[in-house]
């Protein structure tokens, strides 16, 4: 099993959700996060005082999937989250050791 973590632009969430839905991915966790990579922040000016805002709002999507689905999901996220402009985000794939569904106690792929 894999854990796919994608950092995306907040405005692309709906497109990503639809793309994953069409791959039969019906669950995900989304967190509002802040960060920066190559896209630097911007500055805001309040009564003449300038503040550098280094950390930009992004969304972090986490999805636990079976090994066989992983590549298709990564490319679906890449296509649906891409605007072509700097700041589109990144996708990380990690090995997932164990999963348990709390309600039933199921483990492994059955709990995904």
């Amino acid at each position: 099993m894999k854990l796919v973590i994608a950092i995306i632009k907040p405005s692309r969430l709906e497109e990503v959700r639809q793309a994953l839905n069409s791959l039969d991915v019906h669950g995900m966790t989304v967190t509002e996060v802040k960060g920066y990579g190559r896209q630097k922040g911007h500055s805001e000016i309040y009564r003449g005082t300038e503040y550098a805002v280094h950390f930009l709002p992004k969304l972090k999507i986490e999805i636990a999937v079976e090994d066989s689905q992983s590549d298709a999901i990564v490319s679906a996220i890449r296509e649906s989250a891409q605007t072509g402009r700097i700041g589109d985000g990144k996708i990380f794939v990690l090995d997932l050791l164990a999963v348990t569904r709390i309600r039933t106690g199921e483990t492994g792929a059955a709990a995904l």
Partner: protein, 432 residues
């Protein structure tokens, strides 16, 4: 306004009155009344409160968080812009005798409030100083364009909005205010509009619809989550609108008298009825009585009772409120979906539709026992008032939008719209 009818008689005297500055001719004119003046000073402050912060918060709560500052900024900037325009030329165009053009447009004798001083009055309101009358009318000139902003929320460049609103105030608001209240042809025909159903609400609602159609939908409309980011702000805003509306409607008696009291009672009853009507309609259709629903219904009731408030009795106001609450719900929740336009905060669905309902029903329920000027009421005359207002505001708003589009463009880039107007238009953001 209650003195509309007398204007045809007084109209010719108006220019001379302005030049000779009041007291010289005062033996026939009503005397200044301290009670009236006190109430109109109060009403003026109340109506200004409707726009800032009332409307700013009402609208600000309904947009997404990335656009909240841009939305409250629109109300605030329009307040400042229209104040200057009204002082310089708007008041003169609306409320000064236009001579040969009197049916269509007022004159320019009071540019920069020339010929207005501490001793003058306007023939339309002889018991209060002219400065107070102009200030009171100014607050109406301010809120009308501010209402339009609800239709194009979250997707208009600030520069485009400023140019549009400045031109709109001059080309649309001042003439229509003159037609109905300033001695123009609609008032002469007997169109009843106590506090601004046609001048303010139909006018702004229809202009809003034109803006929504010309600008097009927000990016992601129909798929992205565009839910209001903080309805508590909207509840505070709607509540300030309700309280401020007593200045709007009871203030439109332009006197501290029983008619103002009737207008206040009518306003309260219609607003409560419309709020409940919207709430119950939504409760029946979608099974939940929503907070946004009850406050939207209240605003719909305030809008619909506006032209009626000084003509109908409270039972008439009750019926107007119930009809407006239910029909505005249908307009905002269903008609908008049916036609697919993005009137983001329902400027047309509430102000346009509610204004038309109120203007028509004023012709049905006007009660001469409340106001003798309503004795000749007719739904047909009301209809003429609505048609002329819609025609002028629709055509002129469209043309102004085209001019602005050529000058600076109407919408920010797609990327700016995605990032939000707060940061891209104003360089500021609401922090967590």
């Amino acid at each position: 306004m209650k003195l509309n009818k007398t204007l045809t008689v007084l109209g010719s005297a108006l220019g001379a009155l302005a030049l000779l500055a009041g007291p010289a001719l005062a033996q026939d004119a009503p005397k200044l009344d301290t009670g009236d003046t006190a109430w109109m000073l109060t009403s003026t402050a109340l109506v200004l409160m409707m726009t800032i912060p009332g409307l700013a918060l009402f609208y600000g709560g309904m947009v997404r968080k990335k656009n909240v500052l841009a939305t409250v900024m629109q109300s605030f900037a329009i307040t400042c812009l229209v104040t200057i325009i009204w002082y310089v030329v708007g008041y003169s165009m609306a409320f000064t005798d236009g001579g040969s053009t009197q049916a269509w447009l007022g004159g320019f004798a009071k540019i920069f409030h020339n010929n207005v001083g501490v001793t003058t009055t306007n023939a339309l309101a002889g018991t209060i100083p002219e400065y107070v009358f102009s200030m009171f009318q100014m607050t109406f000139a301010i809120i009308t364009p501010a209402l339009i902003a609800g239709a194009f929320a979250e997707r208009m460049k600030f520069s485009a909005m400023m140019i549009f609103m400045g031109l709109w105030s001059l080309i649309v608001y001042s003439p229509i205010a003159h037609w109905v209240w300033g001695g123009g042809f609609l008032g002469s025909w007997g169109v009843l509009d106590f506090a601004g159903g046609t001048v303010v609400h139909i006018n702004a609602g229809v202009a809003g619809l034109v803006c929504a159609l010309v600008l097009g939908k927000r990016k992601g409309f129909g798929t992205a989550n565009m839910a209001p980011h903080n309805l508590v702000l909207s509840v505070i805003g709607a509540s300030l609108l309700w309280v401020g509306w007593f200045g709007f409607n009871a203030g439109s008696a332009v006197a501290s008298n029983a008619l103002a009291g009737a207008a206040m009672m009518n306003t309260q009853v219609a607003t409560a009825a419309a709020a409940l009507a919207w709430m119950f309609a939504e409760w029946i259709v979608v099974k939940k009585p929503s907070v946004l629903g009850i406050i939207s219904g209240a605003v719909a009731g305030l809008v619909a009772v506006t032209p009626a408030s000084g003509f109908v009795n409270p039972t008439g106001a009750l019926v107007i409120g119930l009809v407006a609450g239910a029909l505005c719900y249908l307009a905002a929740a269903h008609m908008k979906k049916m036609f697919g336009y993005d009137d983001s905060l329902d400027a047309f669905g509430v102000h346009g539709v509610g204004g038309i309902i109120g203007a028509l029903l004023t012709g049905v329920f006007a009660d001469p026992a409340i106001n003798p000027l309503g004795a000749t009421h007719s739904i047909v005359t009301q209809f003429y008032g609505i048609i002329f207002t819609i025609a002028w505001t629709a055509v002129a708003s469209f043309v102004i939008l085209m001019v602005v589009k050529v000058l600076v463009g109407l919408r920010p880039s797609e990327q700016e719209e995605e990032e939000g107007l707060d940061i891209t238009q104003h360089g500021e953001s609401v922090n967590e």
